[in-house]
Amino acid sequence: MKAFAPIAVVIALLAAVPLIVHSNVTLNFLVVALMIALAGQGWNILGGYGGQYSFGHAAFFGTGAYVTAILQVRYGVNAWLAFGLGIAASAALGALIGGLTFRSGLRGSYFALVTLAFAEVLRIVASVAPITGAGVGTLIKLDLRAEALQFESRAMFYWVILALVAVALIITHLIERSRFGAWLIAVRENEDAAMALGVDATAVKLAAMTISGAITAAAGCFYVQYFLFVDSGIAYGTWISIEALLTPIIGGAGTVFGPLLGALVVKALGEGALMVVTGEAPGLDLVVFGCVLVLVIWFSPRGLIGVGAELRKRFRRAGTRPVAQEARHG
């Protein structure tokens, strides 16, 4: 139980925020940041631990969002049940896409491309299919009852998304300490070597993609309950694919807290940039995200969590300059 102490502390501190902060603007900011963190936590399982960089996690976010919305609006399914089914549908989609791509042995650039293409196909289909509301999108009826998973106070929404983030943190932590996690990291570091040692790389990646899809889908399901609207550009747009990979990479890919840290930092910087400029500034926050992404990879490839270690390494290297290390890095 002691191993879960850091998670418990972080979640307890975050849970206390609405007791102190009552501003709706701040709470809204935190809800959105936590939602992006959750999407990033999903990406982190496959990308951070498994080394498979998906550029199309919108496929999972969007499927979760649409399934939750459509089941409620068109079939009168209870919101909580629809939420769960949205997650399940995306997990199945993850298994399907993973099954197709990993079985064909796609890696690296090819994997990034094919995930991107799947998200685009889904976006185009959703923009014309009648069941999704096509170009108009799907609206969920306002029904502020806990049974309908809608709340009058933003604080309740905040605690719901925080609970989801907490579950994802625990899952990530459990994976990290499990045999499965060790296999996954082995595949990331050297797939051929892992296979030579008897790791079934395809099965491991497939399982990772299923879990990854399910977690990112939860963010999509939450999006629908919070904003009560979804269309193809929101659900399957590139924005969410980019933010889902941005947060773990910036925070620290392959770490438990990376996505959460990344999401809070990135969202705060984006808001900050918009505050500096008066008037409209479309795209400015994304320019900042892009710059942070490049700078983090450049100067701290292990993310913000690794900044301390990186500084120590540079400091030591500057002091002693061991020959072997110079040869490797220079």
Partner: protein, 290 residues
């Protein structure tokens, strides 16, 4: 629906569009062939070059076809610098990092353009924009014919550079065997940057060919980038003839599927080919085993 009077013009127009797709894909495949990474900033660079061509005409009054001779070298230098001073050092020689850095650059370029120029759609007004040649059974637009011819000139020039200059030999050597080339005294970082510059110059020329008949806005390049990925995958990553033939095939597929499925679903045909090729034959039609 299937009468030849509709089908033949559709195929011809598809070939003309496909040629410009091929040029965009040519830059992408060149970079992949040498650096072994997919340049996710390719579409954003295309958009940037389209804005350059737009302003060359709009504020300086230079015809896009003339402007190509200025914009291509400028973008060569820009691409060279980008690879040499940003992508190379930032990615520490890791493929995964290179993917992310080019993605980051794409986000920066596209949104910087959005920030400066807003989402407005712009077009330029050249005298020949709507001129066409009467073939008796159909009309072909002049700007697209010029584009078609120019693509083959560029491909020929590229082939000459790669085959008969020292730089070209160095590029091919690095593509084949990076370590060996380095041991033979080739400056790999320089060759990488030259290759990236050449790929960027290709999109710059493509942009100048597109501007007379295509609109310009901060996400204009995105329409081409996934198509270009498809072509590169179909033709075989790193294969120059593959990019040309793949471009023409995709152009025809797109115009035929728009004819039969309608505009909005026209692109689906491309993506389905893309996913099918990736899953069944990821090395493409002309590529070496992946």
């Amino acid at each position: 629906m299937l009468s030849p009077t509709i089908l033949i013009p559709t195929v011809l127009n598809g070939l003309l569009t496909g040629a410009v797709y091929a040029l965009v894909a040519l830059g992408l495949t060149l970079i992949y062939g040498v650096l072994h990474i997919i340049n996710f900033a390719h579409g954003a660079l295309l958009t940037a070059a389209m804005f350059a061509a737009y302003f060359a005409f709009h504020t300086l009054g230079i015809d896009p076809y003339i402007a190509a001779f200025i914009i291509a070298p400028v973008f060569f230098a820009f691409g060279y610098a980008l690879q040499r001073f940003v992508i190379g050092p930032a990615s520490h020689g890791e493929d995964r990092n290179m993917l992310l850095v080019t993605l980051g650059l794409a986000v920066i370029i596209e949104n910087a353009l959005l920030f400066w120029f807003r989402a407005d759609t712009r077009t330029i007004d050249v005298p020949y924009a709507f001129q066409s040649i009467d073939l008796g059974f159909t009309f072909l637009a002049v700007p697209r014919l010029v584009g078609f011819a120019a693509v083959f000139v560029v491909a020929l020039a590229l082939w000459l550079i790669m085959g008969f200059t020292d730089t070209g030999r160095a590029i091919r050597a690095v593509a084949k065997e990076k370590l060996g080339a380095e041991l033979a005294g080739i400056d790999v970082a320089h060759v990488y940057a030259v290759t990236f510059g050449l790929g960027t110059a290709c999109v710059a020329i493509a942009a100048c060919l597109l501007v007379p008949s295509y609109y310009v806005n901060p996400s204009a390049g995105n329409a081409f980038v996934l198509v270009a990925f498809t072509i590169v995958v179909l033709g075989g990553m790193g294969s120059v003839p593959g990019a040309l033939i793949g471009g023409l095939i995709i152009g025809v597929v797109e115009s035929l599927s728009s004819l039969f499925l309608g505009e909005s679903l026209g692109q689906i045909g491309i993506f389905l080919i893309f996913i099918a090729v990736l899953l069944v034959r990821p090395q493409g039609l002309f590529g070496a085993k992946a």
